[in-house]
């Protein structure tokens, strides 16, 4: 009987000695695997976020380039229009000058009218 008790005690002790490392090994490896998976998930997510930002920057570059080209075209058109208008003014000035000089030569009294009308001068 004593032998049987000793025998079972020995078996229980040995079982306990094996159970503890098995338990810690299994739980630790499970935790490591979970941590690894979490890190991989985080890494994949970060990569995705980086690619989203990169795409956004590229889209911005394209859009800015388009906007700037449109702006440049509008500015050039406005500049051209301005130069055309200035040329028209110069031509109109030359025409008016010639017409007035002809008018004043033909009718000196017309000068008096212009001086009174334009500048309010008195004879």
């Amino acid at each position: 009987m004593t032998f049987l008790i000793q025998y079972w005690k020995l078996i229980a002790g040995a079982a306990y000695i094996i159970a503890v490392p098995v338990y810690f090994y299994v739980t630790a490896s499970s935790a490591n695997k979970n941590l690894e998976t979490a890190l991989e998930t985080s890494q994949a997510s970060n990569q995705k976020q980086i690619s989203i930002l990169r795409e956004s920057l590229e889209d911005q570059r394209v859009a800015y380039e388009k906007m700037f080209n449109e702006y440049q075209e509008k500015m050039n058109a406005a500049q051209k229009q301005h130069e055309t208008e200035l040329a028209k003014i110069k031509k109109a000035q030359a025409d008016q000058q010639w017409q007035l000089s002809q008018k004043f030569k033909a009718d000196p009294a017309a000068v008096n009218e212009e001086l009174e009308k334009r500048f309010g001068l008195k004879k």
């Binding site: 079982a15 208008e85 000035q93 010639w98 004879k123």
Partner: protein, 136 residues
């Protein structure tokens, strides 16, 4: 004072004269061409000034349009990017949360039981083998 005002009221600004005729006033005699030049230059100066103002306004308008376009685009772009990033972060959080949830399941009794059973089986097997071998 009255005399001064009277002299100003009746002051003569110009006097038409013919060539060789003495001038009734002190001043400058201009030819018809010079007179025409002064008048036409005045008109042209006014027109140029108006045109310059119009051009400056147009330039400001174009610049303003560009700024507005840029700002509108920035707002839309930032909104879109933020939404996508938030979505990615949410996915990440969901995955990590499910892992944590999985990790938190308490399997201690199961593993202790498995370990104990394995230990028991190993020890029993060893002793059984030892007894069999010694009996022989």
């Amino acid at each position: 004072m009255i005399l001064l005002l009277a002299s100003l009221a009746f002051a003569q600004d110009y006097a038409p004269i013919k060539k060789g005729q003495p001038s009734p006033i002190d001043g400058t005699v201009l030819t018809a061409e010079a007179m025409a030049t002064i008048i036409a230059k005045g008109d042209a100066d006014i027109a140029t000034c108006k045109e310059e103002a119009k051009f400056e306004l147009k330039k400001q308008q174009i610049e303003c349009e560009l700024d507005t376009q840029k700002l509108e685009y920035d707002v839309e772009s930032i909104k879109k990017t933020d939404e996508e990033i938030l979505k990615a972060k949410q996915e990440e959080l969901d995955k990590v949360y499910s892992l944590v949830k999985k990790q938190n399941r308490n399997l201690t009794p199961v593993w202790i039981g498995v370990g104990f059973a394995a230990g028991l089986a190993t020890s029993y097997g060893t002793i059984y083998l030892y007894e069999n071998l010694t009996n022989e």
